[in-house]
Symmetry: C3
Subunit: 303 residues, 3 copies
Amino acid sequence: MTFSQKNIISIKDFSKKDIKYILRVAERMEPIARSKETSNLLYGKILGMLFYEPSTRTKLSFETGMKRLGGNVIGFTEAAGSSMTKGENLADTARMVGEYADSIVIRHEMEGAARYVSDLVDVPVINAGDGAGQHPTQTLLDLYTIKRIFGKIKNLNIALIGDLKYGRTVHSLAYALALFNVKMSFVSPKELKMPDEIVHDLNKIDVVARETENIHDVLDKVDVLYVTRIQKERFPDPEEYQKIKGAYLINSELLKGTDLIVMHPLPRVDEIAYDVDSTPNSKYFEQAFYGVPVRMALLKSII
Amino acid sequence: MTFSQKNIISIKDFSKKDIKYILRVAERMEPIARSKETSNLLYGKILGMLFYEPSTRTKLSFETGMKRLGGNVIGFTEAAGSSMTKGENLADTARMVGEYADSIVIRHEMEGAARYVSDLVDVPVINAGDGAGQHPTQTLLDLYTIKRIFGKIKNLNIALIGDLKYGRTVHSLAYALALFNVKMSFVSPKELKMPDEIVHDLNKIDVVARETENIHDVLDKVDVLYVTRIQKERFPDPEEYQKIKGAYLINSELLKGTDLIVMHPLPRVDEIAYDVDSTPNSKYFEQAFYGVPVRMALLKSII
Amino acid sequence: MTFSQKNIISIKDFSKKDIKYILRVAERMEPIARSKETSNLLYGKILGMLFYEPSTRTKLSFETGMKRLGGNVIGFTEAAGSSMTKGENLADTARMVGEYADSIVIRHEMEGAARYVSDLVDVPVINAGDGAGQHPTQTLLDLYTIKRIFGKIKNLNIALIGDLKYGRTVHSLAYALALFNVKMSFVSPKELKMPDEIVHDLNKIDVVARETENIHDVLDKVDVLYVTRIQKERFPDPEEYQKIKGAYLINSELLKGTDLIVMHPLPRVDEIAYDVDSTPNSKYFEQAFYGVPVRMALLKSII
């Protein structure tokens, strides 16, 4: 697709070529994101931010991206938002912001909210997470992180670990990685396995992921360990949860001797021990940074 | 008046010439508001925003206006504001912001708050709504909307409909329209009639508005239907409210065959049905947009 | 010290030469802070603001400073912050913002928070108040105010009055003033005397402050009356508090015939009567303004 004025709703709307294009543009944005170069590419432009749910990282990296490019933002976040938009529905609020801004980025708890809004307004809409639905800019920054660290995505060995059943992030990432000929492993407790539907979709394009409950099955083989949180609420039995939590905890002891990288969409709770932070394996803060050039690349391309 | 460093407190401070001047400047601002041109007219300038009450549209359009002109904003909105200004009164807060900013825009629940603040600070103050008092920038954008759509205001036939008793917006608008030789109608339930004092003021300058309870009396005559909300709280008897609500509901059925335009200061609750949105009569989102060039014109003129 | 990339944690890290340097730079920043000149010195730069406690003046003056210099800010304030950072600790939040911004300014209720954060991130950190700890930018703007009004700090007669026991502001200010050969007086109820440790530290460098409970002992001698609030919570007996409050109230009657200046870090509650505002003695709003050029000087120097 050509990106000018396009909506960014789902990673499934992106061809492999589209993804590669955005990652290439992101690379050109990096010196600006690192404050080594200045730019006025988006001078006078306004991004409207509708954050009906809190999301510090996503919000701040979009804001940083706009501002580093000379643009600016308007809008609201949940805490203020709840009272600010009292008595007005999503449609009217979005149409209003669509009158003011050059693009809208929306996070909403309702699946499909971003696509719904994109049908109402004349400016391009970016989905920053819609409940159990999509979060395409997270997937793009995950891919960019891998690309920047290994110089490629192709042929890498990548394990997704944690809650693979409910985790929106890993679903989108699995689809996107499938385009790049990677070797995938899915590591999760049996209660939180990757949904059959996704496994089946991947099989249809000849991608067969190894599935296991045991992290040690993949540890000496993978280049990337992509960790997600396992939520207590998924387990009726607290003891069962404690056992699972222990078995999936990533700490420096576990990583000793490996040269894999650890990624995480953040925020973490306690699935990655703090002693990992100072190891060379830890890449999740670098990954958070890469949200800026990737979102800059999208903003530059659609506005 | 010359606008440099002037306070914008009440539409009554504006002569017809003043209004026409602002509308003309707003027209020049429109390409910038539409992001077709860029400007650095207010580069380095700061607008201080004191929103003690929520007001998404007013706040975001002021913000958009400043940022499109290369300026920026500081300040707070109610949700954050309540805790941020804990223990400090309006006077001290306003004086502080007056030390930092080039102009202050204030919304406050207390009538007279904007004028009170304008006496305390050295920078020009814009009233963005003071309780039952004034909201002059709303009136100016209403006039601008009419001017842009019809090419003129003079000689148009304009009906104000809904709560004409408590509605600050329609009071200010009636005074301003009276300067432009329009034919006015006031359509409201008898409990919510335009106050005698205003009717009397208009009569003194030979403006006689038609008053009626029945929307059908005006429907085939008017160019503009300016709708405002009727609040449930005004009616002790809920059944009475339901009857009134039904009689004043604007829907596409009612508008069929007319070419009048429907305006509304927004947010709406249920006084305009959603099926009106896609009719050519609907102009309330366009009206919301015009808040940007009109507020740009004011900011440019006073700062 | 050379300031580039330095953390600003405590006024004790500043030599007299450092302070004089910042005050000199602040003077050059003043025309920009007053909006008489524009600057793009920090164009494209981002200040990350982590305000875990509300602090309107400090926050807005940092924001104003960045924006007047062409830069911008990201971050959050307490009200929004509490929900935005739900489930994420200070360390992870700070590291994230450190990835996005060129510098971080933090206010936190925990003493030592700013230094803790400065050890975690790669960008310079500014302490905007850490509980009972330090608030160095307040001290610098206090010094700048005195310098601007008297043309010098040396040899002035300066009284600190109010709660000298718990007041972080007066502790830092006393240390800084000691470098400038001023004559200091400490005026407080005996329950709220300057801590022995600080008096002792000052004595070691041959600074002997006069200590008294009676404001009238200093009134005809001082050039500066630096007032701080006496909090009700410090007194178990409400009657005792009322008596103290009355004895330390600054009003226009008290100041009659003097030409001292009254300073206050603000917000005030009722320790300075409103009738002082219109006297020539009152300098606390001007002092609030000076927060802008002083913070600009720091931002310019470290980023």
